[in-house]
Symmetry: C2
Subunit: 385 residues, 2 copies
């Protein structure tokens, strides 16, 4: 019986995780659930999964939940998330809080020796240089939940990294793959939120449209698989059937595919090193007919180029990129900036940053806060123009 704490249980990954768990009640128990603010859904999850504690990040929402009087201990704020992440008796933490608030609880869970099923990209993007050595020190397994990293993890299957020539992440290219760079300036948030293959949260849907999501995944792969940035490539694959691949030094390429459904990688992270049955329907390639591939056009997707630039700069630069992007995406969703402004705001913020080492989580967070503040100012100036 694996005892789980699920951070971000009402998000897309969290809900899918609970759906997988509901099929394997004999294998898993839910000890803790943590959410940002969706207490209505959390209350339902409490009734169904009977956790010992729940944590609500938003204090007002926590009060609202307390009024519902659910049969569970209720924690709140960042401290609440950390307690849920480090709870005694928890074997694995599913880290699925979107954005930078996911970093500290994930880091604390690792320090407490919990294995991590990792969906929160920010933990590695912002602080991979702190998170991975800490995990190694504690003997903690970091199991990827992103479909791409799960694919790479499955393709590698313990192979000696010296035999790996390239990790190739696939990207759908998002909803605007066919649009001209000119047309991209006019797309609306509603159009950007329509991802062709995956049903996801808002932030990640916009990041998929800009390919920033893929860039963040390049950063994640860099830390998870300990490969130089030159060994990580991206290819467009609009059908999202091949979730990623690994090319070995002999020219052999191993790829992982499935119907696009997050229950696949979630289940693998939970069941590893085993596989569970009854997770996804069989992939029917004859029915799908064709899988296509293209090189990503860096002019259409400047955010992807920025991530490589940030990763090469190293230190706190990826953290700055990530923070500026959070602000820029928010501003785009609020109708304050154009789609094409997103990467420009990120780039402008990066160009004002002097790379530091980021030797503590606190330092990383303070850099992130600086970058958010600066990006907000750039957004405002943008509108002033």
């Amino acid at each position: 019986m694996k005892r789980l704490s699920i951070l971000g249980s009402t998000g897309s990954i969290g809900q899918n995780t609970l759906e997988v768990i509901s099929r394997y009640r004999d294998r898993f128990s839910v000890k803790a659930l943590a959410v940002r603010n969706n207490v209505r859904m959390l209350e339902e999850q409490i009734r169904e999964f009977r956790p010992e504690v729940v944590a609500v990040y938003d204090e007002a929402a926590a009060s609202e939940l307390k009024k519902m009087n659910p049969p569970v201990e209720i924690l709140q704020g960042e401290q609440g998330l950390i307690e849920a992440a480090t709870l005694d008796g928890v074997d694995m933490v599913v880290s699925a809080i979107v954005g930078s608030p996911g970093l500290v609880p994930t880091y604390e869970a690792i320090k407490a020796g919990k294995d991590i099923a990792l969906a929160t990209k920010e933990a590695l993007v912002m602080a991979g240089h702190l998170v991975m050595p800490e995990a190694a020190r504690r003997g903690v397994k970091i199991l990827p939940v992103d479909s791409e990293h799960s694919a790479v993890f499955q393709c590698l299957d313990g192979t000696d990294m010296e035999e790996v020539e390239k990790i190739i992440l696939t990207a759908s290219g998002g909803p605007f793959r066919k649009k001209s760079v000119q047309e991209l300036g006019k797309v609306t948030p509603a159009e950007a939120l329509k991802h062709p293959n995956w049903d996801m949260g808002k932030k990640i849907s916009i990041d998929s449209a800009t390919l920033m999501n893929k860039g963040l995944e390049v950063m994640e792969a860099y830390w998870l698989f300990n490969v130089p940035v030159e060994k990580i490539g991206v290819i467009l694959h609009p059908q999202s059937i091949i979730h990623s691949m690994v090319r070995f030094i002999d020219g052999s390429v191993i790829s992982q595919m499935s119907v696009p459904d997050m229950k696949g990688p979630i289940s693998y992270a939970l069941s590893y090193p085993e596989r569970f049955g009854n997770v996804l329907p069989a992939l029917n390639l004859a029915e799908i007919g064709e899988l296509t591939f293209e090189e990503p056009d860096m002019e259409r997707y400047p955010s992807l180029a920025l991530t490589y630039k940030a990763l090469r700069a190293g230190g706190t630069m990826p953290c700055v990129l990530n923070a500026a992007n959070e602000i820029a995406v928010e501003a785009f969703l609020d109708g304050k900036i154009l789609f094409t402004d997103i990467s420009r705001i990120v780039s402008d913020t990066m160009s004002e940053h002097t790379v530091a080492r980021g030797e503590t989580i606190e330092e990383v967070i303070s850099v992130s806060e600086w970058a958010k503040q600066r990006a907000k100012e750039i957004v405002e100036n943008n509108n002033g123009n």
Copy 2:
């Protein structure tokens, strides 16, 4: 230093094997070479690779080689092949003799405790029920050289077979994938020999056009991976980039790809469990653009259906199918029968056979001889009509 004996060194697999070895002289030495009758090429190989012994199956060709007076011991006949296959000090035998003459030397090599890099399908098709238990008893590794089985082997990578839901072999569909069943009756041997992706010997090129080759590979997979026939499927994939795949119980599919070049699987069989660098050029999927997939049409490819039927019948039936097919392909290449007669002759021969257990190699061979004889008679009667 791995010491090799290469059976069938002048065939397509043999030549490619020697090309791989020539790049890794510090890893391999060639102790023995064996061929059917191409002594002119063998003589060149002797000069380049300096084996201790060579074996020539055809006695007249052996005499011809002796006249060339090469600096090597020359063996001849089936006994010569067996001696080359069981030579003291040989670690691995590359079994790449086309057709049933490959069976006995391969079996004897296993009995002598040599690891096998297996290209000769017939060893498993005719006698998998004897070969595999013998290999298990002797602790002999059977490493597949067929691109499809090498792919499956790479995808499985030691996984528990209980987690495997389906092994899916890819098939190019050969040169006649777009022809109507009526048009198939009129194709010439020259047309049938033009394989779209692979440069191979004549027998295997015709078998690729009928999909009999894929059927024989289904049989090989059955023995190599110890899975029930229901768990082995075939999908058409005309580009021959994905060499095969494995679907696991959770719906995840692992596939292996590369540019279509036999040096890939050959190198993997030789280097396993390691991988060598500098084997194949990097696969460029963006350049290839698309990979397509179709269900095989059993009306166009009756030979494939026959192999499943033979495998289900079990015992000596696969051996009969294989023997009848050898004769039918030869008759087609000689212009004696139509392309569409091949499967009919195989089917007619099978329908006259009463399945036996095939408890010894001798019994298997005698059944094979009976089937060849019977198939020849059916070919003659076919022409009489």
